[in-house]
């Protein structure tokens, strides 16, 4: 190596090498064991209505109409921390709409992204999420939780929903679209769509909104069918209301 490199004490060199190796491993690790981040939108006796985070859309549902296209606009910033920490990203690049953040927990614990999304994590688990573009991303955690975060400026652009043979639109509702058939995962794990009208025309817009809706409507369980994109072929069911998990509305 002929590159001019600053001379530092050996201890400092070893620490720098260690840090660089750890960041290299984290940054170049394949996206395994990732999961969709869950935003809790309602509370109650085990009731849980969930919407996937926007960041999950790109990783999980590339072909789903209505999902967001995500372009990376900067090199990732990698930090390793214990407990609460603010990830500093520097100036926001032109065109950036979001910061995509991945948090890998090194202990079992709980953490939150800015805005309140988050949840529990286990050692080694990676959770991705997208927050509005900001040069500082505050991650809060349960006390003493060790974690590594990778944050990247990105541009998210919605794609169009599709239209089936009956003239109904279908796709993700996660980008602000309002398709007739909303992508959802059934209680049997199959992916499909539920009619928006079957969801009582209601899409929670915030945890407070969802909590209010839950208070007013959430005391009974309703079951709605999950279809293929044709809106006719049933592949499973989606439960709405209190009780254990009732499927997942896909972003």
């Amino acid at each position: 190596m002929t590159t001019t490199r600053p001379l530092v004490p050996r201890e400092e060199y070893t620490a720098a090498l260690r840090t660089a190796l750890v960041e290299h491993v984290v940054r170049t690790a394949p996206a395994t064991r990732r999961r969709r981040v869950l935003r809790r939108l309602s509370v109650g006796t085990g009731a849980l209505v969930v919407l996937g985070g926007a960041g999950a859309a790109a990783a999980h549902l590339d072909l789903l109409p209505g999902t967001e296209r995500v372009d990376r606009l900067a090199e990732p910033v990698v930090v390793t921390a214990t407990g609460d920490h603010v990830i500093e990203l520097g100036p926001v690049p032109a065109g950036a709409t979001h910061v995509d953040v991945e948090v890998r927990c090194h202990d079992d614990g709980t953490f939150w992204f800015p805005g309140g999304a988050g949840g529990t994590c286990t050692d080694g688990e990676v959770t991705g999420y997208a927050v509005p573009a900001d040069r500082s991303i505050a991650i809060t955690t349960s006390p003493g939780l060790r974690w590594t975060g990778v944050a990247t400026y990105t541009r998210h652009e919605p794609t169009d929903v599709a239209v089936n043979g009956n003239g109904d639109t279908y796709g993700s509702a996660g980008s602000g679209a309002a398709p007739d058939l909303v992508a959802a995962e059934a209680t049997n794990g199959r992916e499909g769509y539920v009619y928006a009208r079957d969801l009582a025309g209601y899409t929670p817009t915030s945890p407070a909104d969802a909590a209010r809706w839950q208070e007013e409507h959430g005391h009974a369980t309703r079951v709605v069918p999950v279809y293929l994109s044709d809106g006719e072929t049933v592949v499973g069911q989606f439960e709405i209301g209190p009780g254990e998990g009732g499927g997942v509305v896909t972003p």
Binding site: M1, R5, G124
Partner: protein
Amino acid sequence: MQPDHPVRTLQGVSERPDDDTAAWHAARTGDGAAFGLLFDRHHARVRRHAARLVPRPGDVDDVAASAFLELWRRRADVRLVRGSVLPWLLVTTTNLARNAARSTRRHEAFLARLPRPDDTPDVADVACVADPRLVAGLRALSATDRRLVALVVLDGLPLADAAEAVGVSVPAAKSRLHRARARLRDALPRPDHVEAHR
């Protein structure tokens, strides 16, 4: 040299306190903390190994760093020997050291971002400086023999571990070492210069 004494349990699991198995399984999936732990355990040893084999002192740290980068890059191929990733790292270091300039080029961008250690060899390092005669002698050996000599003679690894690390049987390793020692007779360090480890 003190050999390792793994504790056999009812499950037949080695319980050496520095067993890398769990850390390696976590590290290979991208757990940075686990990779850092492996670095902490083995970097000093890998660096000393490189120092014995790399003719230019200025290349030693880059070769040692490259060994860890190779550990990550070739993680699908890494084999633990008795629960340790060290033999794989030492074999890789031996391979990298043969042509340090060429073998570290792959990682040039990574290495260029690092500082350089500003130190002079201390007393402990004096025994870990490459002997030009030895380096030249090792170059004349086959790759397998070179790795065996490096692991067993220079680094003091148990013969069985070295044999497993380079992929030959113990009797074959013994035979190869015997022949290699004869060829390197004048260049090899005397037994009391071989460093104890662990």
